[in-house]
């Protein structure tokens, strides 16, 4: 089973709404979730007010810790980055160096990616990376009875309150099919 990596704080905070439930190794049958180390660097940059607002979620992520062993040799990194850049240019997308560095690791270590960021998802999928949206993971967890419908609905309310990015129409449909209210 492939591991699934979260590289951005947006998806990580969304899933941390359920505490560390979704991050237990081997709990989700489609693959465990790991966190990219740069995600923690981004969290450190946050304004103190924001850190306070999300302190529960940050605490969960700090407990889960960053994935280790994601470094690869420079030579390989550089040559793969050239291909990712060429793919990005062919797609006409603006995806920065930070994203590219993470994608190199995702491809090299044959990981799946969890993100709601469409340009990044499009680039990754063109490089044959399997991409999941954050809500897709929760739907999967609901189906496996790892999270309850009540907890899912409470999370949806929290996400909407914080103006977080909506999932794709397909995922909203999957949620509605399972009786999860989504505006």
């Amino acid at each position: 089973m492939k591991r699934r990596i979260i590289c951005d704080t947006c998806s990580a905070i969304k899933l941390a709404e359920f505490g560390d439930l979704l991050f237990h190794d081997g709990k989700l049958t489609q693959g465990s979730i790991i966190l990219h180390p740069t995600l923690f660097a981004e969290l450190k940059k946050w304004h103190p007010d924001k850190k306070k607002k999300f302190q529960e979620q940050i605490q969960v992520l700090n407990q889960v810790k960053a994935a280790t062993g994601l470094r690869l040799d420079r030579q390989h990194h550089e040559s793969q980055e050239v291909i990712i850049r060429a793919t990005r240019d062919a797609l006409g997308l603006s995806v920065g160096k930070g994203d590219l560095d993470q994608l190199v690791s995702v491809i090299y270590f044959d990981l799946d990616l969890i993100t709601n960021d469409s340009p990044l998802a499009s680039l990754a999928s063109n490089l044959d990376v399997t991409v999941f949206e954050a809500e897709e993971i929760v739907v999967e967890a609901l189906d496996q009875k790892i999270v309850t419908k009540v907890a899912f609905e409470a999370a949806v309310i929290a996400w909407e309150k914080r103006d977080e990015k909506r999932p794709s129409k397909a995922i909203i449909k999957a949620m509605l099919d399972r009786g999860i209210k989504y505006k």
Binding site: D8, Q80, V82, V95, P119, D163
Partner: protein
């Protein structure tokens, strides 16, 4: 998520050579899981799926320089020139960052679907700064009396030259960079560091324009000096000070205390900076030495406390950056300074820029960039009845 199948353009000869040097096509068949005909098909079309190229690179252990040769289009004459205080050299990583931002801008600008003809912007063998300044103004269709930040920006846009105001951060300011011009193929962009004073913006633009018009491809003291003189002639032309020398001498003989107001008046008339006018007065020996000393003190004070571009384009401390960007891009007075940021908004709405890249360009965290994406998309959909 919908997958757009994309193929990377490659230099087929270089790729074929790389394969043949290490291996043969037939031995790649098994690794790639495709037939030899399929590989030959990619080579004949000079296009290959990214993942397959990635596998080839991994399998043949090709290094980055080889992969660059395989994926690089023919070289264009792109360059990045920095205007720095005392011509301090700028580190390569900073130069690469600037080129990357320019490329992001060109990609996002293409989304607007506004076709602009690429006008020939070139002055051959320029030697006289006054003539060069006049030629540039003529090319911009601007009389000297019409010069303002807005008129210059709009004239440049019609020539396909963009001026972007951007906060390059402490490292960049540390390198004392004030402005940069980037040329890539037929596209040109001038960056003004947002740390600069608003009143210095036009001078910086004309300095960079001089590099672009004269097709300077590298930094040299002579090129920098020439463009300094050209920018000075565009805003504080010798002809003005020579023609009005007597009147100006009278004006500045009325006493030291009114001298700063007189400079401000001339600066407004010429769209020049306080310091620019002072330098011209000095050059034409219009002010006496004691008045000049006093005016330099005023000029340095103004430099320390004057309005900076960053006051216009960056959220003040303790202001919600999401609220700032939502209002700033709707504010007509700020708008001319926020062309890059407008393109980032468009990129977020059309899902052409990643949230992380947008967060870097707007100087907000990822969560705020994501919120902005959601709110701007909702506004856009409402406005366009989508």
């Amino acid at each position: 998520m919908a997958k757009q199948s994309v193929m990377i353009p490659v230099n087929a000869d270089v790729l074929r050579d790389s394969i043949q040097k290490r291996d043969s096509l037939s031995s790649l068949e098994g690794v790639l899981g495709v037939s030899r005909q399929a590989i030959n098909g990619w080579l004949s079309k000079s296009k290959i799926p990214p993942r397959q190229l990635s596998t080839i690179v991994r399998e043949l252990k090709l290094d980055a320089s080889e992969v660059k040769k395989i994926t690089s289009p023919p070289k264009d004459r792109s360059f990045v020139l920095f205007r720095t205080n005392r011509n301090v050299a700028v580190a390569k990583d900073i130069s690469d960052d600037v080129l990357e931002i320019a490329e992001d801008f060109f990609r996002l600008e293409a989304l607007t679907e506004i076709e602009r003809q690429s006008t020939n912007v070139k002055i051959e063998n320029a030697t006289d700064p006054g003539e060069t300044a006049t030629t540039i103004l003529k090319n911009l269709n601007l009389e000297r009396t019409q010069i303002s930040i807005s008129s210059v920006l709009s004239a440049l846009t019609s020539l396909n030259i963009y001026v972007l105001f951007y906060n390059f951060g402490e490292g960049f300011i540390g390198a004392k960079a004030q402005a940069v011009c980037v040329k890539k193929a037929k596209k040109r962009v001038i960056f003004i560091n947002s740390h600069e004073l608003v009143e210095d913006v036009l001078w910086r633009i004309f300095h960079e324009l001089c590099h672009l018009y004269c097709d300077h491809t590298e930094t040299s003291t002579s090129n920098e000096e020439f463009c300094n003189f050209t920018a000075t002639q565009a805003l504080t032309p010798d002809s003005f000070f020579s023609a009005n020398k007597k009147e100006l001498k009278n004006l500045f003989s009325r006493g030291v205390s009114v001298a700063p107001f007189s400079i401000e008046k001339i600066a407004t008339q010429l769209s020049a900076s306080f310091m620019g006018v002072l330098l011209a007065l000095k050059k034409h020996q219009i002010v006496d030495s004691s008045t000049e000393r006093y005016l330099w003190k005023i000029a340095h004070k103004r430099k320390a406390s004057g309005a900076r571009v960053t006051d216009i384009i960056s959220p003040p401390k303790d202001v919600d950056s999401v609220a700032f960007w939502l209002s700033a891009l709707e504010d007509v007075n700020r708008s001319k300074f926020l062309h890059l940021q407008h393109m980032v908004r468009m990129g977020l709405i059309l899902e052409k820029i990643s949230v992380r890249r947008a967060s870097e360009l707007l100087h907000v965290d990822e969560l705020d960039a994501q919120r902005l994406a959601k709110l701007w998309t909702a506004q856009y959909e409402k406005k366009n009845n989508l």
